[in-house]
């Protein structure tokens, strides 16, 4: 099974990459959709024009929201839309016929998009480097390793959360509404809209225990050096605990759903 998979995976990645290239216009539009960080950056730099807010001056806000943009583009997933659509339209049946687990194929399709995302986001990354070069975690090998691990963790966490919510579509009609709620809470508690430390202390404390922050805020804070190494490591540990938890939960739900899946039109 494992050898089989090792042989198939590179091919799957190549197919995924080709699909990515085929839909490049749509991909670019999707990237442009992530413009909220720029708007928030404009807003907060206007606020910080007459003195810093907490630890954040104008430069820190710029670095923070650019980092949000970079990490968000690199790690986000559209699994929930793909999965719910495949379930609703019955395309999942074709995927189930293949000799590989559908989730593995999905993961390859998603991973194959990462190089293209890196390419598209590189101008933003360069600006970020100019603005906050010395603070960034890329100069120090230890911090860089933590950063990469936390990015991988964020990617996996988002992927499995969306598999979990997407699998709900096997049971209920409104899985996407559930995801909408998740997205709303995520935008607030992940640090996407506002840095967590600027929220009221109790909200920020709660947010640090919930998974949302580990999908986005943690790698961002590591990247621009907002957290010291010990607390970054603690965060990383909790992040991967959540990844494991969501991995198990999504697989259980998937398996339970498979038992009742009947392809539409079959």
């Amino acid at each position: 099974m494992m050898r089989h998979l090792m042989r198939a995976y590179p091919t799957l990645l190549r197919i995924g990459f080709a699909e990515m290239v085929a839909y490049r216009a749509e991909f670019l539009i999707w990237v442009l959709t992530t413009n909220m960080p720029l708007v928030m950056m404009g807003l907060w730099t206007a606020v910080a024009a007459d003195g810093p807010v907490g630890r954040f001056g104008q430069r820190e806000f710029v670095a923070y929201y650019l980092a949000i943009l970079v990490i968000r583009i690199l790690t986000s997933s559209w699994m929930v839309w793909e999965l719910t659509m495949d379930i609703r339209q019955g395309a999942l049946a074709a995927r189930l016929l293949r000799p590989l687990h559908p989730l593995i194929v999905y993961s390859a399709e998603h991973l194959a998009a990462v190089p293209m995302r890196m390419l598209v986001i590189s101008p933003v990354a360069i600006v970020l480097f100019v603005v906050a070069g010395p603070q960034l975690a890329i100069g120090d090998p230890v911090r860089l390793a933590i950063l990469l691990a936390s990015c991988a963790g964020a990617w996996a966490l988002l992927f499995f959360t969306q598999v979990l919510i997407g699998s709900l579509a096997l049971f209920i009609d409104s899985a996407l509404s559930v995801f909408d709620i998740w997205l709303g809470i995520h935008s607030l508690l992940s640090g996407y809209l506002v840095p967590l430390e600027l929220l009221p202390p109790w909200v920020s404390a709660v947010a640090h225990r919930l998974p949302f922050h580990y999908c986005l805020g943690l790698p961002v804070e590591i990247l621009i050096g907002l957290v010291d190494t010990p607390s970054a490591l603690r965060g990383l540990g909790l992040q991967w605990l959540y990844v494991g938890g969501f991995f198990v939960a999504s697989n259980l739900l998937w398996r339970a759903g498979m038992r009742r899946f009947v392809a539409f039109g079959a």
Binding site: I29, G42, L43, S177, I185
Partner: protein
């Protein structure tokens, strides 16, 4: 009045009655979505609250004044989501599946038919919510808006809706070329979101884009200034002129796009 007008008025009545029958199919959804609407509205207020917890005034806007802009934004969004987006989403779907052919075959203006095909009555909850925000904002300000200013604001509301509708038509026209336009509609929604902030908080490129390219300033900031009694005649003329220009542009784009349409199967 020419009989053409009467004919379209009758047609509008028929379209609306079909749309409301369709919309009332899911009565439970109606309540559920209403509750969700209030949840979203509360959520989207958080960044504003966080900002004004730090400062009493941002870029010359006090808290209640910024609330007027936010309330106006919510009002416009409820009209957009309730009356414009559902219909135009149908067009996008129709282009993808080829069902648009049936609309084009009917002996009436296609743009009129597609624009009045669907609406979502539960958005009335958002509408009420936005009015609550506006009333609260003016209570904080300590005075009611002058009747003349309210009347002027209604004119600008009509222009703003026309603007939004025109931009949507432009987006839909684009979907004749770029088929996967669900992305485009997300882009539209995400850009529109920036309209909750007074235009003065943005500098440079963002300000230019939000005034001339995607004229959010004309849709939210200027009408809010009208309500506050601060809008000059020149700016008001700019709003009306901009609205008419976009409407003409949209009509041209739609005609061009329809000419390009070759149906899904050919």
């Amino acid at each position: 009045m020419p009989p053409v007008f009467l004919r379209y008025a009758r047609l509008l009545r028929t379209q609306l009655s079909i749309a409301s029958t369709l919309a009332m199919q899911y009565r439970f959804d109606f309540v559920l979505k209403g509750v969700m609407a209030l949840f979203w509205m509360a959520l989207t207020m958080v960044p504003l609250l966080v900002v004004y917890a730090q400062r009493t005034s941002v870029a010359g806007w006090t808290y209640p004044e910024a609330l007027v802009v936010l309330g106006w934004f919510a009002l416009l969004k409820s009209i957009l989501d309730g009356g414009v987006t559902p219909s135009l989403n149908m067009v996008v779907e129709g282009i993808r599946t080829g069902a648009l052919d049936f609309v084009l075959l009917k002996p009436a203006d296609a743009q009129f038919l597609v624009s009045t095909a669907r609406f979502e009555p539960w958005r009335i909850f958002d509408l009420i919510g936005s009015l609550v925000i506006l009333v609260y904002a003016f209570r904080r300000l300590g005075h009611a808006p002058a009747p003349a200013h309210v009347a002027a604001a209604f004119v600008l509301l009509a222009v703003a809706v026309l603007l939004l509708y025109s931009i949507w038509i432009l987006v839909v026209s684009a979907s004749f070329w770029v088929v996967r336009v669900d992305n485009l509609s997300y882009l539209f929604g995400s850009l529109f979101d920036a309209g909750r902030w007074p235009i003065d908080v943005f500098k440079g490129a963002l300000r230019f884009v939000f005034t001339f390219v995607f004229p959010l300033a004309l849709m939210t900031t200027y009408p809010a200034l009208t309500l506050l009694g601060k809008l000059t005649f020149g700016s008001a003329a700019l709003v009306v002129g901009g609205g008419l220009a976009f409407t003409a542009l949209a009509r041209l784009a739609w005609r061009g796009a329809i000419g390009f349409y070759t149906s899904a199967s050919s």
